[in-house]
Subunit: 175 residues, 2 copies
DNA sequence: TCGATGCTGATATAATATAACGATCGGCCA
DNA sequence: TGGCCGATCGTTATATTATATCAGCATCGA
């Protein structure tokens, strides 16, 4: 059971994650569930040591390996992604979001992630554009390269920050 | 002047880099030239502290900021790229390679990089696929996102390693 | 000459990630 | 039942990557 109270939305996503793991014969332990919950609640890329701090509020003994091991598991299962440019982690909404039920993607084992990272507000929006994926797959094939894990990251300004910056050049964040 | 002897190929690339900087009004100082030379000679992604070690053979006093400042400059000028997945740096062949004279790409200020990273032999091949670029630009536009720096990294097996692995599963490297 | 700017030297420290070893828990099967 | 085994986690220590800060020095233009 969770020591911390997560939002009901997060809890539903955790239950989905649980089901996914069950189906695959892997175990979403309390600790892993806790870490995944923290990542999901953050709603933005969050660093391992930030997670560690939060984890410690309900788990005094946690140390770096505690959170890194949990993250390794979650990455392996495709439940979270790492944003390389930020050395930070985000939940994979395509796996866990109820709104995305019918998107048809199967992320299991593909380990591919595409992000639009806003340097204004720090958000990272996961896109999963089939045409980017296809172009990359084609280029790899031409090179005789067999891709295993693929990272696509664009850093720039989201629409809100871009509008805000146009209005007042010193703007740092929106909502 | 270089303290270390670089290959004549590297020297030619350094001269090109010098010309590029001159054209832009930036300065490829001895130190920066030295660091760029080390990156180019490596011929594969190389970590900042590896560079530091090499730099120290001819420059006893070098410290981390020495190499990071040089790398920041080189990144800004598009003369090297950072491979995020490896926290390592490679020369941008499209800027510096004589063979690529007529490729028509203008990388200046675009800060985009696409790599095929082989986990077998540690090579990182820069591709610069226009269709990947176009797909990404289109996806960003649809999201109202203005990309500034773009990273595309596929980790997997290059053709040589893939062949070697098929032949003898324990293989680690080719040539 | 003066100040502004850009580059480097040098020390210290922050931030991110892993190694290594032992303890515990559960399942599995002789 | 008892013992083995693999998976998970606790704990300490350390490795790796990156930045902050301040001082010195050169260059350039006013």
């Amino acid at each position: 059971m969770s020591v911390q109270g997560f939002s009901s939305r997060t809890d539903r996503m955790l239950d989905r994650a649980d089901a996914v793991c069950l189906r695959r014969g892997s175990r979403l332990t309390d600790l892993r569930r806790q870490v995944l919950g923290l990542v999901l609640e953050a709603g933005r890329p969050v660093g391992a040591y930030d997670l560690l701090d939060k984890l410690r509020t309900g788990h005094k003994t946690a140390a770096p390996p505690t959170v890194y091991r949990a993250l390794d598991f979650l990455l392996e299962e495709g439940l979270v992604h790492k944003v390389e440019r930020l050395s930070a982690f985000v939940g994979c909404l395509h796996e866990l979001c109820e709104e995305d039920d019918g998107c048809g993607h199967d992320h299991s084992g593909s380990h591919t992630a595409q992000f639009l990272i806003c340097s204004g507000c720090g958000s990272a929006t996961e896109i999963d554009d089939p045409s980017i994926h296809a172009s990359l797959a084609a280029a790899a094939r031409r090179a005789g390269f067999k891709p295993h894990k693929v990272t696509v990251e664009a850093e720039g300004l989201c629409s809100l920050c871009s509008a805000a910056t146009a209005a007042r050049p010193a703007a740092r964040a929106h909502g």
